[in-house]
């Protein structure tokens, strides 16, 4: 199943003549007006008039995806499902996902799963130190890779023949894989499923949301860095969550401030010139879960696939993370003791 560029793509040539070009006011069309190719109105609503895809949509099979009930059943054993989102790349979504999972898993009574939906740039396996594992297919489905007794992961990385292979896939193919992650993976009984996402607001996000709608997402944690360039994209992600009806558990500010290891002077590498995550959270009326300072040891721990939580429990960064995790628990209505175990 070597992905290649020659893969046939949907007929979108005539999409170039869509209303975007004819609209005199140069404002991008609002995608929410499209009823969605799988809805009952596909090809029939007002917005479809003149859409080059109208004929395709109108003739496509209607109704919800027949696989959704299958997925819902497969995921029935999962108590809580969390999304980790950010409009911006490299702000620490994956790092935060692993931290959150390690924190949940630090209580031996919890079983935790991580699903990596970043198809083109999967980082979770490396951060978990299971980069070279492969998936076992059993009669009941795909067995996720277990990092420890109570921590399972699933990522496209486990399916690549070579570690550095590029996954050059267009949207529909990515959606297909995400669907398989939800439909075919033998997650079993989990207390938490943390879903790591790629940056942006596109196929992966829409698919995860629509596939999980039935079984219910408990909420999304948004990750940002303090500078405006990142906040700009996170604002878009908040807008996306609102439009998609995903509950936002709160906003985490990562990489806020760096303590020089020599002189302990705190520098704001990514300066919060516009008030940072705190102000964004206040403006958009979502909870602020905390600020996590930059620590070069986190990067190191991730590179070697070790748990920062277990290795540096006394560092200020770890304390900040612990607070964030407790705040996440609070939003979910879970006691700190249940999350972190008795300490």
């Amino acid at each position: 199943m070597a992905p290649s560029l020659e893969e046939p793509i949907e007929p979108v040539d005539d999409a170039l003549t869509s209303n975007l070009k004819q609209k005199p006011a140069l404002v991008a069309p609002e995608p929410e007006h499209c009823p969605g190719p799988e809805s009952n109105d596909a090809g029939k609503s007002d917005a479809c008039a003149g859409c080059p895809n109208q004929a395709i949509c109108a003739s496509a099979p209607k109704g919800p995806d027949p696989d959704i009930p299958v997925m819902t059943q497969r995921l029935a054993g999962i108590k809580r499902k969390l999304l980790v989102l950010s409009g911006k790349g490299g702000v620490g979504k994956s790092t935060f996902t692993t931290m959150l999972a390690h924190a949940f898993a630090s209580n031996p009574a919890n079983t935790v799963g991580i699903m990596d939906t970043d198809i083109c740039g999967p980082s979770i396996p490396k951060m978990m130190g299971v980069e070279n594992e492969t998936i076992h297919v059993t009669s009941t489905g795909w067995e996720p890779v277990w990092v420890s007794e109570n921590l399972a992961t699933m990522s496209v990385q486990f399916m690549l023949p070579n570690r550095d292979d590029a996954v050059i896939w267009r949207g529909p193919k990515k959606n297909g894989l995400i669907k398989q992650f939800l439909k075919d993976v033998e997650w079993g009984e989990l207390d938490y499923l943390v879903v790591d996402t790629p940056p942006g607001t596109s196929d992966e996000h829409l698919s995860v949301n629509s596939y999980l709608k039935e079984s219910g997402v408990d909420g999304a944690v948004l990750v940002t860095t303090p500078q405006e360039v990142a906040l700009l994209d996170v604002r878009k992600e908040i807008d996306f969550c609102r439009k998609a009806g995903i509950r936002i558990l709160g906003l985490v500010e990562n990489m806020s401030g760096f303590v020089c290891p020599k002189c302990t002077h705190t520098s704001e590498i990514f300066r919060a010139t516009t008030g940072g995550g705190m102000r964004l959270a206040r403006e958009s009326g979502i909870p602020f879960l905390g600020a996590v300072p930059l620590d070069s040891r986190i990067g190191m721990a991730c590179d070697y696939g070790e748990s920062f939580f277990d290795n540096f429990p006394d560092s200020p960064t770890c304390k900040a993370l612990r607070d964030v995790v407790i705040n996440v628990g609070e939003q979910l209505g879970v006691d700190a003791v249940d999350i972190l175990g008795d300490e």
Binding site: K21, V27, V91, A166, L232, I238, C260, F270, S296
Partner: protein
């Protein structure tokens, strides 16, 4: 066809997000412009466009001409007759700092088309594909020496469409190649390796690797900390047999320049590349924020670094 008069098309790629693709694109554009070339910047990151913010033109809107878009100007060419380059190398450096001639710089991004800067663009692949194609065919760039294309992270719809369209529409001599940006840590390197394999598979030449965020110099005690470790980019470049263009440290002053529009100033006695940096006393805000981005950028410590990098790139690409 809008790419007709573009001499070189340069992609800025990275498998990983947040490594500084847009910031490297910005600096490459400014440096090329300072060397007297006319430059266009196309932002194909549709769901998270950052280029408008980087050039400080967030409120600008794109104007439409019959059948196409007119890109947003950052600045027009200045000095010795505007179009300095009939295809020759730069001689802009003999001129003194403040009146040095530079080439024009224009930008195009989806950010300019949004009604509201907080609006999410929730598009699936086909729509993104259509938009990327339109960006490549319907923008009036005019005559350009370099067109830099800033991309989103990953190897998906935008990238496939971009390369497909470019391979179809641009001549091989136009499509100069790709600059790959990474940060030094292994997590980032492993994603960026995928991007280099993408380039291999699609036949896009890798012009070089830039290692960004390599080290942070504490402004208080000038201790250099490798926040995101070190050296990974160089090792990777060697492994894949592609040129290594250089390591770029984190410069809070560059971030300040972008975020607040303030001219970079450095502590007394900062010497970079044998040249003392701007430390002078005009510390009041008005003096610092005055002037155009390109003028202010010349006092940034990263400029000499990029100057060298761009010279190497220009040489590699030929004319």
């Amino acid at each position: 066809m809008s790419l007709q008069d573009v001499k070189h098309v340069l992609l800025v790629l990275s498998g990983k997000g947040g490594v500084g693709k847009s910031s490297v694109t910005t600096q490459l554009a400014l440096t090329l412009s300072l060397q007297g070339f006319s430059v266009g910047v196309l932002d194909v990151d549709l769901t998270g466009p950052s280029i408008p913010r980087f050039f400080g033109i967030e409120t600008a809107k794109v104007r439409q001409a019959p059948g196409g878009w007119i890109p947003v100007p950052v600045h027009e060419a200045q000095g010795a007759g505007g179009d300095l380059h009939g295809g020759e190398g730069s001689n802009g450096h003999s001129a003194n700092e403040h009146s040095r001639p530079y080439g024009s710089l224009h930008c195009m991004s989806l950010g300019f088309l949004l009604a509201n800067r907080g609006d999410a663009v929730v598009w699936r692949g086909p729509k993104k594909t259509a938009m990327v194609r339109q960006f490549l065919t319907d923008v009036y760039w005019g005559s350009l020496d370099y067109l830099l294309i800033d991309t989103p992270p990953g190897t998906s719809d935008e990238h496939i469409s971009l390369v497909e369209t470019l391979l179809k529409q641009a001549t091989p001599s136009q499509l100069a190649g790709a600059v790959v940006v990474t940060t030094p840590q292994a997590i980032s390197i492993s994603d960026v390796k995928k991007e280099i394999n993408f380039c291999r598979k699609t036949g896009v030449k890798v012009l070089g690797v830039v290692e960004n965020m390599a080290g942070f110099v504490c402004p208080n005690c000038s201790e250099c900390t490798n926040v995101f470790s070190k050296g990974g980019g160089q090792v990777m470049a060697a492994e894949f047999g592609v040129p290594f263009l250089g390591s770029v440290p984190i410069d809070p002053m560059f971030i300040r320049l972008i975020e607040e529009g303030k001219r970079p100033v450095y502590p007394q006695g900062t010497v970079i590349d044998g040249k003392a940096m701007d430390t002078n006393g005009h510390t009041d805000d008005a003096a610092l924020t005055d002037g155009r981005l390109i003028d202010k950028y010349t006092s940034c410590s990263l400029h000499p670094l990029f100057d060298g990098m761009v010279r190497q790139l220009v040489q590699d690409m030929g004319t």
